[in-house]
Symmetry: D2
Subunit: 419 residues, 4 copies
């Protein structure tokens, strides 16, 4: 009988190696899929390990540029930020990984896909929502939620034994005492020794950023240029370096941001599945792009659009965090966000210094601030007496409210505000 | 005939001195009201100058502690921030100034009040909304919107001449080439030479904060303790200093934040009256409190409350910015915000370093993260297979959407997202 | 060995009778709990049937007045309405049923509770969220999600056979070809023959309302009086009937509304669990209260509070629909809603006629519309020239936007709006 | 010296006739512009009267079809409704009138425009925002806010005298004791004898709708078909009448809705300028379209899109009401709304009866409810045990919240909810 083919997202680590072998032992023909989203890995070695562990075929897919163009930049255009601080580096990389996973499944003519994300995290949700949204008929084997797998692997020792039994190489290097996940946007560090939210992470945890203390004691001045809200050019004003290709631009920004100690955060966040979790993230380049984008919007975006959009940013960010990238509600919000970015053209100059990103100048040809266009200049200038009417009209209901309060209810301004 | 009494908000500067004399010349009995909201001024000298210029009476009111307790802290409890960056330092001080203004008017048994805010700015709006909301029968004389005054004072030279004519002292010190407004929360610098948003402000502009470059090359570790979302204690872990009184605590925070180069921003913002304006602000202590508060909420606030509240923060901030502090919509939002803060108890530890505020630890006795309380521990722990059901149920509509799209409309995932 | 006690929500129908017997057979000491929320049932007969089927104890709890005071009226104060049309009659009754369920469990000193809600519906969710929120240590036996029970009862014939085996009486009356759920607020009809959304329900489906066709051809005029947004008095202007007790008032309203053909809706709604479902509801009295409340708010509520609150109504309604009545986010929203209702005092007169509710008059002592208080009367009346300033100021950014568009981007007003 | 040309929006009534003459007397060359938006007027007679009163040229512009296609239908696609009840009939007609006004001004090469809207109403705002948005250089002469005009016309007798002096015919028919404004979407009745919100309007007030009492005692069954959320076909199932052209369709709907007593509302609303105002509106056809559209969305729209969109409806409606149709924020929201309507295809059947609109059937080829597509059928059907995981995961934070409350703060569920 012909074996069912299954596409396994394979990282080369112990977990997905065990899963690869286990799926083979379940009778599957396992095709491995290694997504290169910018993590610091030896893809040739991973490929070889996959074959050694029983894969019948291995796809190594370079998704970096597409990740930047179609996921990271669109999220930044909408100022996506989760719970006021997290730039969503892990969440943003998941949909593209799922999308290519499904493309490979279709190419290989199978409905079966598998991944190694655990049952307590956000990533299982993000992957599987991507699978279902793009391929509703998909069959997902997720071992870490599979009773059979779970009963076979109750702890790490079961995995070590299984690895030994099947000659799966176990990394010699000491396993880190916490988890990491890396892509071109960021690296996350969490769990293990980092779980106690009251203990500061050791400096050794950080890999993409220098500490502010060790960063140069001299500003790096850069200029970021945007068109329609997309970054299209970075210029290092100190040395004249210019980058325009999105992959080069973003990679270069990561480099200079990291060198200047930019992009670290340490937060307790709410996972989709209702658990609070402490995460330490390094997101160097995107942190700069966010600041630059906000700053340009200050000069180029209409006030009412901004204020309305700002109310939607928490929802937009939640959608990304929760894994609904491919969803009708995401399409709905993106349509408005796209519209909001049509005028976001211009340049922002920033000083980078020991963890600080200091906007020091901004200009836009289509600026709503532009001197010649300035509203003050239209029609003979701003008439201060207009303000009187503006205030009087807006005060009508405040007066009425006071009179009502005074006449009918005891009138006190929010005593309870006091401690 | 008895003169009408009028209460004039008096700063001691040229503008309000001119107005004081002008009101006197209009036949008013002018009572001056000097609000001490923490600006760096010689209030005795101002008082004397008021009398010298014709005031019949002068009130100097120390509003600092009330400003902190009833305005700054409540705004920070709601994470108020305007257009993602501005902590609203000027806006927050206006309602209390207006409130005392009205109290004095009532005490002095007059309906007439006057102020020197210009007709193009936000502050006229904030003052006058406060007046109308608290005293609908008020009569406001706002010279900078008064055609008679405006026709008399067409430029600075008219004012100088008027001052000379009436022996009003003109400050010898050279007038700054831009405007400043200071209170215990912050100082703003704007207009004049700072108007061009593409020119970086000179270091000499800043008065409350050292530059990150000049800040100490050593971390200051502090602990901020909150109860019901209010800061109740600051501890400097380097030297053991503790502050619990709100005025002392806030003053101390301003000091150490300023020394560490914390709290500068430089933005183009949207004024209520529809003009874009460049502002440079120093808000040292409050910047730390905001970060600490956000961090504590991470560990102590329910997810759904946070996400819902976050959608309201832009509106809450807009209400403050636009001057609607005393309004029914502010009461409405504050009721929800008060509720949201009932559980926000705990401590946050932060490292201050050259402009950076780095949260390095947080704890809360009522933490939703607390190990013993941790949801994982309830009912024998988290069951990973529950996640399967969670995902399957949530994926139902994603599958349905795909099938609908596929069957009936050309199926493509947002091409237009591309540049 | 002592049997574990379990509290079963018991309706007297076949399903919960089977569950009662099945739980007994699983070794439980079953205490039945019958919630009287206003459904048309013979509670004595149900009680007897529970004992006959093996219950060791039976609680019959009259929850009607508490349901009205603490659930229905608070929901109406917040104008709760799901997907623009459904007044949430089923959802609102669930939390109080769950609350008493838990109270009984605690009184009987057991952690075990059980209910007969199916695994595809909303009610299982609402009950169980109530249980978990009020008693996190609770142990829930929900047979319709229990693999053991499901394997034993694969279809209706298994249930009939089980009933026969254990002498459980099966209703002689022909089972309705669809499901119903009734409480004092409404009755729902769904599933079965009603599932096809393109088939109109037969007139025989309706039980609480006359059809508009059969309703009297004469208006019934009523007056509804509110205090703080709560209905406190109903007066039938045709015959002088008055009701002030909340239970009497609501019961009377149901009667006259039903007689006048008011309160039917027929919709396709989105269940929490992602399935669309057709529901036919009769909600006579509450439909009138909603209209009256909206109408009173028109005259008594501040504009900005109303517009802000209106943005939160979909969320408020979703929270109720999804079963999160006992949740921190509900507390958060209710705090604001409570505030918004402090001024909602007054009377609304309505004509009821063949399905129509026609507001024909409204008054409020604290009306923002009140002639004497009317803003127009303050300070010598409205000055039309103020409108000029108001318009000019608000138009500043519209002008600027046009100029920017014109200068830099091809200027066209939303062509794509066209079909 | 050549006279300045000015374009005056002319209705043929006394007010705009006086304004026409007054503008002529001010030295303007007055070109009249009569917008036919569907009001019941004799446009030839109006044209003649304009010439007789001094117009140098008269434009009579038929805007009906464009009004329906580009304003009414887009508003209905977004379910626009102001303060839960008003369908915005007056507001929606203003932008198109302003747009053509500006087009004529540009064609006639003048910057001057004038209109007769009063200084206390919403329409002045809507017209002038339209003018400024489409033509920032415009010069607006609005007599009712012009001190010179206001001082000349202090009351109605001044106008009558002026009319007599200049031979302006005054309508012989007795002037209505309240104001009306009509277009193809609706007619409004307000002010005068209708101002007291506690007095029911006389039946004679209504002109587009029969009263429910006088409507036929027999249902009219109609089917409304939508494509992309636009109505594309109406079928009268009683007599087989079909309409597909938007103007014919809408006109026909108005007729049968009016005959069946549909579309009356009587509300107190909040004007933009902060005054409450009582309005009586008849909006027959659009009321049906709204119900039909809501009903179709029930079956065809994704849940999350609907719930998110519903939060934006109050803002969308406010933007229209306040006159910001041509604004960047309107573009922003319309982009999302357009997206949300891509799947809104299908048919809704409704019974019209004495003021009631009763949806009795709905179908959509791309329905999310479609049997074959139904999510229940995918992958072997809905698994009830998935619900367990769904509930357990969602309950995690509810449990945690309870435990926190119990341990640290006195635990009581919202006592204050009580009256």
């Amino acid at each position: 009988m012909k074996k069912e083919k299954i596409i396994l997202a394979y990282s080369g680590g112990l977990d997905t190696s065990i899963i690869l072998k286990w799926l083979t032992n379940q009778g599957f023909d396992v095709v491995c899929y290694v997504a290169d989203v910018g993590q610091n890995d030896d893809f040739e070695a991973i490929k070889q390990k996959a074959f050694d562990t029983g894969a019948s075929k291995v796809y190594v897919e370079d998704l970096k540029k597409e990740l930047i163009d179609d996921y990271i930049f669109p999220a930044l255009r909408g100022n996506a930020i989760y719970e006021s601080r997290y730039l969503l580096g892990t969440a943003i990389a998941r949909p593209i990984i799922a999308k290519r996973h499904i493309e490979i499944a279709k190419k290989e003519k199978t409905k079966y896909v598998s991944h190694g994300a655990t049952g307590k995290g956000n990533d299982q949700v993000r992957f599987e929502f991507g699978f279902y949204a793009l391929y509703p008929e998909v069959k997902i084997i997720s071992p870490w939620k599979d009773p059979k797998f779970l009963s076979e692997f109750k702890g790490r020792s079961d995995m070590i034994n299984y690895a030994k039994k099947y000659n799966i190489p176990i990394k010699q290097s000491i396993k880190k005492s916490y988890s990491e996940d890396e892509n071109i946007m960021h690296i996350s560090h969490e769990a293990g020794v980092l779980e106690d939210p009251n203990i500061r992470p050791d400096e050794s945890v950080f890999s993409l950023t220098t500490s502010p203390q060790n960063a140069p004691d001299k500003e790096t001045i850069i200029e970021v240029e945007f068109k329609n809200g997309y970054p299209i050019k970075i210029t290092n004003k100190n040395d004249g370096t210019e980058k325009t290709d999105s992959l080069e631009l973003f990679t270069y920004l990561n480099k200079i941001a990291g060198e200047n100690g930019i992009g670290r955060i340490d937060i307790v966040e709410n996972r989709y599945i209702g658990i609070k979790s402490r995460g330490i993230y390094e997101t160097p380049g995107a942190t700069i792009l966010r600041e630059a984008h906000l700053d340009l919007e200050g000069i180029a975006m209409d006030k009412e659009v901004m204020h309305l959009r700002d109310m939607l940013v928490p929802k937009f960010s939640e959608i990304i965090y929760n894994g609904y990238w491919f969803s009708p509600e995401m399409d709905f919000l993106l349509s408005a966000i796209d519209k909001s970015q049509e005028m976001i053209d211009g340049k922002v100059t920033l000083a980078l210094y020991k963890g600080n990103i200091i906007p020091i100048g901004r200009e836009s040809k289509i600026s709503l601030y532009d001197e010649k266009l300035s509203s003050m200049e239209i029609e003979g200038g701003f008439d201060a007496t207009d303000s009187k009417g503006f205030i009087n009209i807006n005060a009508i209901r405040l007066k009425a409210h006071n009179l009502v309060l005074r006449k009918n209810k005891p009138f006190k301004w929010r005593e309870k505000n006091k401690k």
